[in-house]
């Protein structure tokens, strides 16, 4: 929460300062680039550096969820030049013609992107997106309360940890945990598999302390629970605040996710947008971003310059072996109604 608040503040400061410099006169010929990103998801000086280098004004806005970003872009009236949504949302936006093709010739720094993060399923030829950050979903646990090794989702069903477990207040993520536990794909639309996942979650509900959002970070840091399902980048932050916390990716596999830069079809400044994307892939800038945010960078040169301790941390950089069974979310289309029905059934008990 603290980080979100500071993110909002930072965004407000950036917007205000941009607005002020915009009013400073003598800058009428300056182009204005509009960027739409997650809250607290960029290095502190990056925007300023970009503005100075290219003599461009940046209007920087933030969103809290993919869904909110989608609703705002879909409703029209906005003219963002760059947005940074996640995998399944990018797929949905491509399908609905909401993003423009990116000319990779204008993004020379694209060569630094690690090969395994290119041509991902949501954008098979990287025509529409350039990876910005990536990560996994896993279990964070408190070593003083959990003495056994944590390597499976099953531990979240262990009655020993009655009322010590936090799940995510997100239907997609929580149902994915149950699907993976059962050995199914987390993108399934099969009603039988979903039915079984539902029963697992209903069985689990009695020992879950709560389904939470961002407050999970404070909760785990303060030792309010033993186990929680979290995003890897948040895990890096939590571990830095409480040394008793450790992160694990269950052996059944988990969710692997990407936040990538896209150019919405309403963009007015394609050239500058591509300059911005290229700038974000620059080694120094990518390093500054990943150091500030704590999430994992797909930029190879920046990764080499990271603290070796962090590279060993599986929360930040899991091995390929650990990611073997991880899957990327795919947009569910109409099946999202089935997921919502399941979630309502679980939470209305």
């Amino acid at each position: 929460m603290r980080r979100i608040l500071s993110g909002i503040l930072a965004a407000a400061v950036v917007t205000v300062s941009v607005a002020l410099t915009g009013c400073g006169g003598a800058s009428n010929d300056k182009t204005t680039l509009k960027v739409y990103n997650w809250g607290d998801y960029i290095g502190e000086d990056v925007i300023q550096k970009f503005e100075d280098k290219f003599n461009i004004n940046v209007v920087y806005d933030t969103f809290p969820t993919n869904e909110e970003m989608y609703v705002k872009l879909k409703a029209g009236g906005s003219d963002y030049d760059v947005a940074i949504p996640s995998d399944y949302m990018i797929k949905k936006m491509i399908n609905e013609g909401m993003v423009k093709k990116i000319n990779l010739n204008n993004i020379p720094n694209y060569k630094y992107i690690e090969e395994k993060f290119k041509n991902l399923s949501f954008d098979p030829n990287n025509e529409y997106s350039v990876p910005y950050m990536w990560g996994t979903v896993g279990i964070i646990y408190n070593k003083t309360m959990v003495k056994e090794p944590v390597d499976s989702w099953n531990i979240l069903w262990d009655k020993k940890y009655d009322k010590q477990i936090f799940m995510l207040d997100s239907q997609r993520d929580s149902i994915a945990v149950a699907l993976k536990k059962l050995g199914y794909s987390l993108n399934t639309k099969n009603k039988d598999e979903l039915e079984k996942a539902k029963n697992e979650l209903i069985k689990q509900k009695d020992i879950v302390q709560a389904y939470v959002g961002d407050e999970v970070k404070d909760k785990m840091i303060m030792g309010e629970g033993a186990l929680a399902v979290v995003w890897s980048g948040d895990a890096v932050y939590m571990k830095s605040q409480n040394k008793d916390l450790e992160y694990a990716i269950p052996k059944e596999g988990s969710n692997l996710w990407f936040d990538s830069m896209v150019i919405p079809s309403t963009a007015k400044h394609q050239k500058e947008a591509e300059e911005f994307i290229n700038f974000m892939c620059d080694t120094e800038i990518a390093l500054e971003n990943t150091n500030y945010i704590g999430y994992s960078t797909p930029q190879t040169e920046a990764k080499k310059k990271l603290d070796p301790e962090l590279l060993k941390d599986i929360a930040a950089y899991p091995t390929d072996e650990q990611m073997k069974d991880c899957e990327v979310f795919i947009d569910l289309d109409a099946s999202i109604k089935d997921y919502d029905k399941i979630w309502t059934e679980i939470t209305s008990r």
Binding site: M1, A210, K337, D340, K341, T347, S348
Partner: protein, 275 residues
């Protein structure tokens, strides 16, 4: 009325922010979207006829009624004390009720999260005195507590403003005629305060039945209430039509409850005057 034009900005405001959105909700609620666009349908309402959604509705109504009842039990005596002529700290007291309302509702609810935690402030104090700790966070109790805390002023203030206007001579007359305080209260004060009670009930019940933040934060999202269901239809499922239909059903329940309450609320100028 020469200054009729003064009301125009307000009328425009109402049209843009109340009437048009209501029409949109009606439109979405009675249509479904397919390849050809929108088409009239009652399908959204059929979909709601499912035991799960009824249990969500029932739970929301039950928690809201419970909170309203607790607010009444707690709030009425407070209003009585505030309104009593002998009580001198009246201003201080009512300020104490009003000042928290200056703070954002979300922040206050977040504060309860910290207070009620297992290792939170309340439990730290309790364990310091070797008293048993309480674990009510993420239960129905916490949701009701959050609603009562947030909505209590909406119960106290209308009752207080009605009680203030009760002519003290009536009370004195009743006492002169030999009524003890129970009789005076039952036969004079209580009937006269009913309009305030009714508007208090409405003021508390309506936000309580539609809340989704309190159930999310203090209930740990373990309880889908009708407000959460509507929120999800708009933000996660993108099914605005179903979301609008649930909103319509919700509005019908609220209108019914207002209709019931306004039957008691003869004195229209009573509690409503404050608002």
């Amino acid at each position: 009325m020469k200054k009729k034009w003064l009301s125009y900005p307000y009328l425009v405001w109402m049209a843009i922010f109340i009437i048009i959105p209501s029409l949109l909700i009606l439109f979405y609620g009675f249509t479904v979207k397919d390849e050809q666009g929108f088409r009239f349908s009652l399908q959204n309402f059929y979909r709601f006829c499912d035991p799960i959604f009824f249990s969500v509705l029932f739970k929301s109504l039950w928690l809201a009624l419970l909170s309203t009842f607790v607010c009444l039990i707690v709030g009425y005596p407070v209003a009585l004390i505030l309104a009593s002529k002998e009580y001198s700290k009246k201003t201080t007291m009512s300020m104490l009720f009003i000042i928290p309302m200056w703070m954002n509702f979300l922040l206050r609810t977040y504060a309860w999260l910290t207070l009620l935690e297992k290792h939170g402030i309340i439990n730290s104090i309790l364990s310091f005195f070797h008293l048993p700790t309480i674990n009510i966070l993420y239960t129905n109790g916490a949701v009701v507590l959050g609603m009562v805390y947030n909505f209590l002023p909406f119960m106290i203030l209308p009752i207080y403003s009605v009680l203030m206007k009760v002519d003290n001579k009536l009370v004195e007359a009743a006492q002169d005629l030999g009524g003890n305080w129970v009789t005076v209260f039952r036969k004079v004060i209580l009937p006269l305060s009913l309009p305030g009670v009714m508007s208090g009930l409405t003021m508390v019940f309506m936000p309580a039945v539609t809340t989704f933040v309190i159930s999310k934060l203090l209930g740990g999202a373990q309880y889908t209430l009708i407000g959460n269901l509507i929120e999800r239809q708009f933000l996660t499922v993108y099914d605005w039509n179903f979301g609008a239909a649930i909103s319509i059903i919700m509005m019908i329940f609220i209108l019914i409850s207002i209709a019931i309450m306004s039957r008691f609320d003869e004195d229209k100028g009573g509690g409503a005057a404050l608002w």
